[in-house]
Symmetry: C2
Subunit: 475 residues, 2 copies
Amino acid sequence: MPDSKPSDTRKAPLKLRRVAIDTYHENVAFLNRNCELYRAEGFQALSKVAISTNGSRIYAVLNVADDDAIVGVTELGLSEQAFAQLGQPEGQLVCVAHTEPPQSMDAVRRKIAGDRLQIDEFRAITHDIVENRYSRTEMAAFLVASVQNGLDREEILSLTRAMTETGDRLRWDASLVADKHCIGGIPGNRTTMLVVPIVAAHGLLIPKTSSRAITSPAGTADTMSVLAKVDLGPEQMHQVVNKTGACLTWGGNAHLAPADDILISVERPLGIDSEGQMIASILSKKLAAGASHLLIDIPVGPTAKVRHMNQALRLRKLFEFIGDRLGLHLEVVISNGSQPIGRGIGPALEARDVMQVLENAPHAPDDLREKALYLAGRILEFDPDVRGGQGFHLARDILESGRALEKMEAIINTQGAVRAVPSTAPLTIDICATQKGVITAIDNYQLTRIARLAGAPMDLNAGVDLYKKLGDEVE
Amino acid sequence: MPDSKPSDTRKAPLKLRRVAIDTYHENVAFLNRNCELYRAEGFQALSKVAISTNGSRIYAVLNVADDDAIVGVTELGLSEQAFAQLGQPEGQLVCVAHTEPPQSMDAVRRKIAGDRLQIDEFRAITHDIVENRYSRTEMAAFLVASVQNGLDREEILSLTRAMTETGDRLRWDASLVADKHCIGGIPGNRTTMLVVPIVAAHGLLIPKTSSRAITSPAGTADTMSVLAKVDLGPEQMHQVVNKTGACLTWGGNAHLAPADDILISVERPLGIDSEGQMIASILSKKLAAGASHLLIDIPVGPTAKVRHMNQALRLRKLFEFIGDRLGLHLEVVISNGSQPIGRGIGPALEARDVMQVLENAPHAPDDLREKALYLAGRILEFDPDVRGGQGFHLARDILESGRALEKMEAIINTQGAVRAVPSTAPLTIDICATQKGVITAIDNYQLTRIARLAGAPMDLNAGVDLYKKLGDEVE
């Protein structure tokens, strides 16, 4: 842009000040409107600046303040994330300079114009994103361009590689590191908390990191947090895995593919859906987590995230293509996504379902049990010593023998058990059918909405408990 | 989105507080992290909220603060623009609620997917934008979608209408209200300040609002501000026009097509260029300003905004199509954009050039004079009483007789003359050619950059003065 000054134009330094505002994944810098530098340099609100001191440099978007209580005329304020990134004490002298828009925006503009991008361009984009050189609008431009002209499979592969490289990679001392992922959209469906102890009880390494809910009533990390501490650092996570062969933790502390987290924080509120971004997001996280063998579950149903079989098949091919090219042993199962899995929807209710299955309780939800055994069986068959087709039976034996429960208890205790949350919330209401009949459809989307309105996942025991499922009679 | 609560969910009110941060065209609300409402409602940083009190309601993006000095636990803070929009005193009790993403984002997502949009959808989008219901990322999504799948001419027409309707419309007591617009990119080129007094001296009404520079070394409003007050409200502007038949003011106070200003503030930093958005932007502003007859100048040159004749011709057809449909008498001239027009680049230097031409000074820049006479002549021919082809001569007579200068002085004095800015800056440097020859090319883009680095437009007398132009010999 013609109006950018070179980034090495620097003036008298300003004193660093922490401004206790949480601007989420965006770095914000604050200058006082009467700051001499602001006046001389012709900074504009929302222009991008580089802040440097002591050999470290960060990028931020500029806000202008008229209140000395926020930032004085000789100070530069930084929002919490930016302040932490710069890693310098308050009062430190810092230099502020105009900065060019990130070079890689040229590639984004070419993507907007319809070009295919190469791996180096994706690398430059994800690198600049992690460096906070992109504004949220620039990321939105990249995302929309990826939806609209789409990413072909070579581009998805490049993006996956580039996103993986933006963060750390976990290393495990095993040739077979199992992992699973489900393309969400189905409430309940807490199979991970069953699959992990079954697979680990068999002896396969399965260090599982999960997300917290963003738009759902509970992520696996939320549900697991009812039973155990989940926000472990990479160090602690390794300890748990070394001891139990597994873990069930929240992935947010591990700095895995951070470009993905940042892009998701822009993509979700926009409500746009890029298949390419989704695949790259999932696979980059799994690669970074050190997985060698991955099972992907795609539930298909009229109110699931994937609504048609042909879409599921296209996704499967894309996953397979990219998995092969990345040297990841990857299998995809397409499952029935027509209704919630299990009875409870919400962290504590789902944790109750999981424990009932592990305890082989007679009233444990059968659909959750069957699906978990099926998925665990498929993962067990990654083991060269397991005969093809025997995985399900093996998984069932492990569950019925109580070894899965034992393993789960070991995982919980090693991560750190938490005080039990009652699965019954203080306020409950029964919703009964007003007429006799058979249940022919359940809307996942509406149940998700109701469970969230009830307070899930913030209130751990809020949610919905389903007494009837598809095909059941009500009267 | 499944996680949005209905917008009428309200809790205990909070006390309104002004947070003196200028967040430009984005409304920002601040809650303290320990605010009970924040904790109970599960607000997230960057989620959108509706703030209402006393029958007025605004929308804002939420930031979370950890400092009582910014916002206390029983307070709701609003950034300056948001505070002004709500129009309530500090301490007023306000309600804060989650808000759904704007309904019209559905249309944006369909545009991303490749659909054509109808006028009602453009109306909903621009309405929501002006109501601050769009985040900057949502606007970026709309803009990128408009570039990528493009807007066809019916869509541009709809967008123009919709943007015009978002603001006020100026009304003038004349059947012929002339206006002009130049598709920028050429430094200098201050023809407007010559065309307006010539046309007004002839007796046509020409109430001209202009912009300040965004990426150029000077907008017409910047250059005019060297001579007169330009930030007039609609009331004062009417007074000037009633008295002199013209004005040369800054358009920012007139609330004309405000959706356009907001979109531009997102589009410029992205460096993306949507022909459709540009045409809608120009024509909506002109319609809102009450123009009935409009001359559009498209300079074409290797370093101008429009680089090829075929692009200029396509633009011309689009302008003509939409002008006709809007009942606007519109003509397009395609001019030579291969070099700057006039000698000076920067507000005071350009004002000097303009006054030299008006004063018929022998050393006045001839190219500026000729181009202004040509454009003024074309506008004069909008007058039914002027014979086709006679406009140029008529314009020249008006200029040479001193009537244009007289009119300019009347405009300056009625708007309010300002103390003269010396056209020579305190620091100057001569850049001489290092070898003998003939000038064969001038890069508009580089000259723009140099003039801005010198300080234009913030320092009124900063800039570049050209002693030689294309075809001149240097030695």
